[in-house]
Structures are given as C-alpha cells and as structure tokens.
C-alpha cells in the first residue's frame, strides 16, 4: 500500500454522504439545468481540483456539489416530474442519448422549469466557454516554496585523491543484478 499510517486519509464518516442514485439518461437530460443551478459549487470544486491536484483537499467542495445536485433533482421531482420523465425517456430512446432528437419534450420540460424554478436553459456553449470564477478560498502554497535539500558535494579536484567507494549491498543490487 502506498500510504503509511502517518499519512492523512479521510475517515469513512468524512467520505460518506448521500449520493445521487440515478442512471445516465436522467442525468444527461437534466445536465444543462443542473449545471446552471449549481454553477457556483461546480466551478469552485473544479477550481479546487485544478489548483490542489489532491482529492483529499477538495472533499468539502465535492460534498457541496453533491448536496446541490440532490437539491436540484429533488426540486425537479417535486415540481416537474411528469415533464422530466417524458423528456429523459425520449433521451434514453436513442442509443447515444443525443439531446437533438427530443426538442419537443425538451421544450415542455424547459417551460416547466422556467415556471417553477424560474430558470432558463443556458445558451449554447455556456459550459464549453471559459468562465471566470471568484472565490474566497485561499490560494494554495506553491511547491516551489518548500525548503530545498542541502547541495550535493561536487566531485574532487584531483581524481587521484578519490577513494574507491566500497561496494555496499545497495550498490551491488540483489542476486539477479538489474532484475532485482
């Protein structure tokens, strides 16, 4: 195992939150509205990931994303269940879950979302473009600030003064040489 007992790994309690139990078709069908609804949380989480490069440090942001997702899909369930079911069944009916075959059901779903949640469908390319995100999370310390190890001593001036280093077990390797 690559992790020692001294290294920090989150406990099971920290890692266990209610997850979304949904299949891919409803998730695909609700993707645009979910992205708009949870825009801030998603951007915060992805920024944290790209800054920290460490899943342990972005757990709270990730939990926030999942909580927001559950909240959004619960709201859809409460207010637009009929329209949503109709839409995702249409999306599921073509093999690549392409949204372009389901414009009529999508219009009904969008209308319901606009009436109940007051949210319009984001324009085309909204998620593909670069978006600016403002955060209060402090910037992580760069790795270049870490103290460097002491400088390696250089080679001796005169090669005749050099001692022949003893052949230790580390230098020799195992019985099988390079295969060991």
């Amino acid at each position: 195992m690559a992790f020692t007992n001294a290294e920090w790994l989150p406990t099971y309690e920290e890692l266990t939150v209610p997850e979304i139990n949904m299949t891919s078709a409803p998730l695909r069908a609700g993707a645009h509205h979910f992205g708009k609804y949870c825009d801030e949380q998603c951007k915060e989480f992805m920024l944290c990931n790209s800054e920290q490069r460490d899943p342990r440090k972005c757990l709270n942001e990730g939990k926030e994303v999942t909580r927001c997702g559950i909240e959004f899909f619960n709201k859809v369930k409460d207010s637009c269940l009929e329209e949503f079911n109709q839409y995702w069944k249409c999306v599921d009916s073509n093999h690549e879950m392409n949204l372009s075959y389901c414009r009529s059901t999508q219009a009904v779903f969008d209308k319901c979302i606009f009436e109940k949640l007051g949210q319009e469908r984001p324009e085309l390319g909204y998620f593909s473009k670069t978006r600016v995100h403002k955060t209060v999370r402090p910037k992580p310390k760069p790795y270049s600030d870490l103290p460097m190890p002491a400088e390696t001593p250089g080679p001796p001036k005169n090669i005749d003064d050099m001692e022949t280093p003893a052949i230790t077990k580390e230098r020799r390797g195992g019985f099988l040489g390079i295969w060991n």
Binding site: M1, N5, L15, A31, L59, V65, L124
Partner: protein, 148 residues
Amino acid sequence: MAAKFRQEMPPPGGYGGVEWSQKLAKAKLSGYRTFGLMAAIGIPAWTYFGYQTTKYRDVRREMTDARIAMEPLYAAEQHRMYLKQLRKNRDDENELMKDRPDWETGKWEGKALYHNKAGRFIPAPLEEYYAHSDALSAQRRYLDHMKH
C-alpha cells in the same frame, strides 16, 4: 462476242474535294451555359453543406456542454469512492499484518515508497489499489479501461 468497250469515267459532276479537316462534334452547351449549370448545382450544394455543418456542430457542442456540466458531479463521487477504497486497503493491510511486528504499513524495509516531503497526493498504482481483491481484478479493470 466481246462486250462493247467502255471507259470508266468520274461520276457526273466530278469527284468531291478531299476532306482533310478534323471533324468536331458540336458542343451541346455553350460556355456561359456550362458556368450557369455549375453555379446552379454548386451554390445550393455549398449552402446546404454550410447549413449542415453548423447544425451538427451545434448538436455536438450541446452534447459537450451536457458532459462538462455533469463532470463535477461525477468527479466528486469518484474521488470519494477512490479515497474510501484507499482507506480500506490500508485498514486491511494493518489487520492482515498485525502479527508481524517488523512490518510497517506502506513501507518496504523501513522506508516509505515515495520521497514525498511536500505531501503531494500520489495516486496508488493499479496493483496496489486492487491488492486485496482477487487476482484478475486489476487486469479486468485495465481491459475495461482500454475499451473506452
């Protein structure tokens, strides 16, 4: 009795002139008409091509949008699952090697596997991630990864 002698003569009016010039078929369409036909086929074709290109580009872009919008949700759950498994692996190793006082979890001959002063997150190798499962799990996972 021999037939009456008759001298062969050219046809009346004489032979025609020798046809020495090349014979060309008459063009069915004039140059202007050819250009006109090209324009008549080409302009609607290119217009339709442009329309189709834009349309399918927009369809692809919409699908890309949908994937990007869902990525944080998947990534959050995936990270939690990954860390949970790492935790489980470490706990299992502690439990498995508790009778060996010379064994330290995550170390080999008393040394940690990685020189990691900065505390970076180093993803576990596939074999270590699947260390406590059955023999072919890692390979199955690898093959599954190659399919997509």
